[in-house]
């Protein structure tokens, strides 16, 4: 029987098949961060359990870490305690922890691939919904809750319901100035914020094949914003080239054997998906969200809709139905996050600056996704480009994507942001978020208003 990539990944991890669409699934890898695991470790203690395979777990602090003055003690005692607790728990249960002061710290979904911890063909979980990111490598990766994190640590398994499969094919090529972020936002707007619920989404087509691994991660990262816990891209030569030589990737003969297996991880030609969605990549314009759900996005050259159901989001965002999104003044700009905090994202943003300066009245932050991204960007001189233009160059962390650290926006602030969620209060209580690509955010920071980056690049 023909199988999709998802089917192959699922079938290879069934420990017990209950026969009703559910299986006890083996979990190969678990990423941990400071926010979703304190209660998981507590549950292990209450039940007197140990971690079954500590070597399959990797921990890092990202959500609550400050992105400035890393050499100083953390101001917020709650954040300091939470990070210290993760470190203590990892030491007690024998789990590798990438220290905050070290060379490998970063956002959990940036460091997994960077370390070669994320591999094709594996199951990977994390107490974070953006775990879908790792599907860019052809891994079955999904976000879970804190209780499930405890179950994974103790048993290396989870009871799961087999998902239905959706394929989204991006035909053709993107226009200049349009990126994986725009593909993601266009897809989410097309299917809606729950259109992917219950489905594993495989992204395919020429425009996906043409994406770098960074771009594929951006695309899979946002599958959850369409309700799907799992995004997937079939691994190919780009995937293998990205992973070869990474610290936790296999090497030597093991590498050769692994790659031979990974080459089999593509959907069969006659695999059936329901639904199949086709999007012409060349028709995607830069996308900007206007509401408080990631599916509320429009092309930069469109007017805002006037649907009565959008009354609350439009009111929260301080926008009028039918107005243009282009030209809307901003006062904050954020480049970073597990969606768009990688080297390619920083390059795209820097390329728009062209010697210009951030507009008066705009505060702009660049927060690299990891220490490795930061160092590579600095080696290329990107930090000097950003700083000369008036952007703040920060230390790695989730920063303004989650606003549970020292980076928070005041009520009423309007932010052009490369992050993944425009929910009410996501960047600070009462703050307003417009999601867009790194190039679009950089262009908005320079102009002081939302603009079409295609014009800035022309």
């Amino acid at each position: 029987m023909s199988r999709s990539l998802y089917d192959k990944l699922w079938d290879a991890h069934v420990v017990v098949d209950s026969g009703d669409g559910k299986a006890l699934l083996y979990i190969d890898r678990h990423l941990l961060h400071e926010v979703s695991t304190p209660q998981s470790f507590e549950a292990l203690r209450e039940d007197g359990l140990e971690v079954h395979r500590p070597g399959t777990q990797l921990a890092v602090a990202d959500h609550s870490v400050p992105t400035h003055d890393r050499n100083l003690a953390i101001d917020d005692p709650q954040a300091a305690a939470q990070i210290a607790l993760l470190e203590r728990n990892c030491a007690e249960f024998g789990i590798a922890y990438l220290p905050l002061q070290g060379n490998d710290q970063g956002i959990v979904h940036v460091i997994g691939p960077e370390q070669g911890f994320t591999l094709p063909g594996i199951t990977l979980v994390c107490g974070d919904s953006h775990t879908s990111t790792h599907g860019a490598f052809g891994a079955l990766a999904f976000g879970i809750g804190a209780s499930e994190c405890g179950t994974v640590m103790a048993t290396q398994t989870l009871w799961q319901t087999r998902a239905r499969t959706m394929r989204v094919t991006f035909t053709g090529a993107l226009q200049p100035g349009v990126s994986a972020k725009d593909m993601a936002l266009a897809f989410i707007a097309a299917v809606g914020s729950s259109g992917g619920t219950g489905h594993a989404v495989e992204f395919a087509g020429e425009a996906v094949e043409a994406l770098s691994m960074e771009g594929r991660m951006t695309l899979c990262n946002m599958a959850i914003e369409a309700g799907s816990r799992t995004g997937l891209v079939a691994p190919d030569e780009k995937t293998f080239a990205y992973l070869e030589g990474r610290p936790r990737a296999p090497s030597g003969e093991a590498w050769e054997a692994a790659v031979a297996h990974w080459r089999t991880l593509a959907s069969d030609a006659d695999a059936v998906f329901d639904p199949e969605i086709v999007i012409a990549a060349g028709e995607i314009a830069p996308q900007v969200t206007f509401g408080t759900s990631p599916d509320q996005a429009v092309s930069i050259d469109s007017a805002l809709p006037g649907d009565g159901a959008l009354k609350r989001p439009m009111q929260y965002m301080g926008l009028a139905a039918g107005a243009a999104i282009a030209g809307l003044p901003i006062d904050h700009a954020f480049i970073g996050s597990c969606t768009n905090g990688r080297l390619e994202d920083l390059r795209a943003a820097a390329s728009v600056i062209g010697g210009a300066h951030v507009a008066d009245g705009v505060r702009a932050l660049v927060v690299p996704g990891s220490m490795q991204v930061k160092r590579q960007a600095e080696a290329e001189g990107l930090d000097r480009v950003f700083k000369a233009a008036g952007f703040e160059w920060r230390e790695p962390g989730c920063s303004l994507c989650v606003a549970m650290n020292s980076d928070r926006l005041p009520a009423g602030a309007r932010c052009a942001s490369t992050s993944n969620r425009n929910f009410e209060g996501r960047q600070g209580a009462g703050a307003r978020t417009h999601l867009m690509s790194p190039a679009m955010v950089a262009a908005a920071a320079i102009a002081g208003r939302i603009v079409d980056v295609r014009e800035a690049l022309a």
């Binding site: 420990v15 919904s129 809750g145 048993t155 914020s193 729950s194 093991a254 929910f423 996501r426």
Partner: protein, 194 residues
Amino acid sequence: MNRLERVEGQAISLPDADVDTDVIYPARFLLITEKKGLGRYAFADRRDEPGFPIGVGNDRPILIAGPNFGCGSSREQAPWAIGDLGIRVIVAESFGEIFYSNCFRNGMLPIRLERDRVESLRRIAEANGTILVDLKAKTVVAGDLASISFEVADDRRQALLNGWNDTTRILALHAADIARFEAAQKRAAPWLWT
């Protein structure tokens, strides 16, 4: 885990679509590393709005929500906070998937129903009527409505009815299956075992 078999009482109505887990439990309170007593932070940025129906002192065990309730972040603080307000059952047309799973791990029952059925229960809730949820029978009974059947995966139903702990139950029932799987994977994919 708390057992759940029958829940009877009045219900809260929160009809908004796409109520995400950031709205249910704003991120700044995620710095708290406890799981008990989080109800006071539930809907922290909404509950002062006039007429907002959920808050501390709630005595209604059922929530009739809008579509895609609990979408967004995987934070289990969302069901912990709602549960701490005494809510045991949430009825909606659809749920964020991770939130849906998290409810079962905390003695709470999320029920998916077709829109017209959700709306008929909402009318009962808004009229302060009593709703009875019976997990054994998989039915919701309220007012003069015909009994409404709902679907729930049998393993999850059994776990709620019996108050099972998923982790210890997997170890008790499937340790040998897991060992067998691992032995096979070591042979088939040895690069995962170095």
